[in-house]
């Protein structure tokens, strides 16, 4: 039997098991539900405001943008968290000690994080369909667009999560990366159209995946007329593909190198040192 295939299959099983575990403990359930409730409340409050220059509900415009953010956040932050935490607690070292264990581990993490992202997306999307008016969800095209944006978004952000997760050895230092991410969300036109921001800020936002994920999701779920109030007056699908594609390509080249370097350096002594540091913080 092919050993790589075995490890991939084990990784898929691993992802399924860990995804199922997220439904059986309060911490994970809270992590699903809390942001969802916050987003829904925000959208309800924004429901009666309108997008500048239109009479379209700002809440309905925010919803797809939030989905884009959920994808970016899910891919980047969840994987990053998992890698740093599980490096500290020894999960990775265990994976390293078994044949093809690292491959299985990584496949499992990708399945888990993708699954978690999908779930987070669905639990925001479904109630929104009942609360918000004006969404264009009647035709298959909307859902196909949503699907490719989701998929490309994950491919673009998961490798970044893997890279950052490998670089940070202490889970408590992740604020360093979380703050810029938060700033980026604020400037990426998620909660308010980017068109009202100064040009240089628009420029910065358009370098990163979050803006394009929001735009892609809006293109899927908003009526075509709403493209008029986007930058360039269009959904810019080609540009979305281009920018997310470049991030994905760069990530897929860089991530394996960084991951391999991180995995090579994992040892019991390193883990023990981290453990000691963590215990010192506790006491």
């Amino acid at each position: 039997m092919n050993t790589t295939l075995t490890a991939i299959r084990a990784g898929l099983a691993r992802g399924r098991i860990e995804l199922r575990q997220t439904f059986t403990n309060s911490q994970d359930l809270w992590n699903y539900l809390f942001p969802t409730v916050v987003f829904l409340v925000v959208m309800i409050f924004m429901r009666n405001a309108t997008v500048p220059g239109t009479n379209f509900s700002l809440g309905a415009r925010t919803m797809p943008s939030v989905l884009g953010m959920v994808v970016a956040f899910g891919g980047l932050v969840n994987l990053m968290m998992a890698l740093t935490v599980e490096r500290e607690d020894g999960t990775l070292l265990r994976a390293k000690a078994i044949p093809n264990g690292m491959l299985g581990y990584l496949v499992g993490k990708i399945v888990l994080v993708s699954g978690m992202t999908l779930i987070s997306l669905v639990i925001v999307l479904v109630p929104s369909l009942f609360i918000l008016d004006g969404l264009a969800v009647g035709d298959l095209g909307s859902w196909l667009t949503l699907a490719w944006v989701l998929l490309l978004g994950l491919v673009a952000t998961l490798p970044l999560g893997a890279v950052f997760g490998s670089l940070f050895s202490n889970p408590r230092n992740m604020g360093v990366i979380m703050l810029p991410v938060m700033g980026l969300i604020a400037t990426s036109g998620i909660f308010y159209p980017i068109t009202s921001f100064p040009g240089w800020l628009q420029g910065i936002a358009q370098v990163f995946p979050i803006y394009w994920l929001g735009l892609g999701m809006r293109s899927a779920l908003l009526p075509d007329g709403m493209a008029a109030v986007e930058l360039g007056g269009s959904w810019r699908h080609l540009e979305t593909l281009g920018v997310l594609g470049v991030w994905a390509a760069v990530g897929l080249v860089v991530a394996p190198i960084i991951l391999r370097r991180m995995a090579r350096r994992e040892s019991g002594a390193n883990m023990e040192a981290r453990r000691q540091r963590a215990l010192q913080r506790v006491t």
Partner: protein, 323 residues
């Protein structure tokens, strides 16, 4: 010095057997920055042997074991594990090893059986007719004494139960060579005895070669066919507990009582002394006890000195005592 004489004998006789050695280490050196942690370590482990690496904390035991496991690059020296340089070991090689790690809180949400089953599944393609891989999970759980906890979440296990799980994880691929780093840390005496039984069973029934580290001499004596004492980056003694004990202490302590009075006498020739004792007093002698000044006494003084920073003096003294 023990090392020299012992190695001199064994290598000359066992040169062809080096091929079949499970572990072969020559001139192993490790340097962190400007500190030499290992200064030329040499040893061989034969198939089926249980070998203990004994030494004070900080002697470099974990460094050696991690080099052998392929988790750490060495500075210099030649190392072969199952005939392969661990720095270049592939997954095929890895599948033949069992590594028992110090765990902490990983896989807390998993259930015991679930995790073993999952980790075992990686070994399926490495199964051979002689060695079916992976281990049957049910049997394995029983063997490490976690039978009642198979469906329990790992986060809810006690420290000792967790350690048993670590051992089970190390065994799930039915390894030919098993590494155990401080396996009984945090065990209560009962769990410790169970664990010792398990190690004996593994080496007898499964033909598993075992290398374990400990700083506990008592454990080393109970478990190992052979003990290597590591201090100051070198192996300062190599032999069975019995051989080491004899080397370390020529003097034995003889205790007896006569007419309700108790006596103690130290002598290098306990047998001769006791013979004379009986010749002289015959049936008046009671409560006879002959005890060698244990390896433990000597080892403990080594550890004490080592910990107070007098590593070299400690090693010299130990070698003096065991000459």
């Amino acid at each position: 010095m023990i090392v020299a004489s012992e190695l001199g004998q064994s290598t000359s006789g066992a040169e062809p057997a080096r091929e079949a050695a499970m572990i072969d280490v020559r001139g192993l050196r490790m340097r962190y920055g400007s500190v030499d942690v290992l200064k030329g370590v040499e040893f061989t482990v034969r198939r089926g042997e249980v070998l203990t690496l004994l030494g004070p904390n900080g002697a470099g035991k974990t460094t050696i074991i991690e080099i052998l496991e392929g988790f750490r690059m060495r500075s210099a020296g030649e190392v072969r594990v199952l005939g392969v340089d661990p720095a270049k070991g592939d997954e095929q090689w890895r599948a033949r090893l069992g590594v028992v790690l110090q765990s902490w809180r990983d896989h807390g949400k998993w259930r015991v059986g679930e995790l073993l089953h999952h980790l075992g599944s990686y070994y399926v393609p490495y199964s051979t007719p002689e060695r079916r891989r992976p281990h049957d999970v049910g049997e394995l759980i029983e063997a490490v004494g976690l039978g009642e906890h198979a469906d329990q979440k790992i986060a809810s296990l006690s420290g000792g139960q967790r350690r048993r799980l670590d051992v089970a994880v190390g065994l799930v691929g039915r390894p030919e060579l098993l590494f155990l780093d401080e396996p009984t840390a945090g065990f209560d005496p009962h769990a410790r005895r169970d664990f010792h039984d398990l190690v004996h069973r593994l080496s007898d029934l499964e033909d598993t070669t075992i290398l374990l580290t400990t700083h506990d001499l008592d454990e080393a004596e109970k478990l190992a066919d052979r003990i290597l004492i590591l201090a100051d980056g070198r192996i300062i003694a190599d032999g069975s507990a019995d051989v080491l004990a004899r080397r370390v202490s020529r003097d034995a302590e003889v205790r007896w009582s006569r007419d309700g009075e108790h006596f103690v006498h130290a002598t290098p020739d306990a047998t001769g002394f006791v013979r004379e004792l009986f010749a002289q007093y015959g049936e008046e002698i009671a409560d006879l006890e002959v005890r060698r000044t244990s390896l433990e006494d000597t080892y403990m003084s080594l550890v004490r000195q080592f910990e107070s920073g007098q590593a070299e003096a400690a090693v010299r003294e130990f070698e003096e005592a065991s000459r």
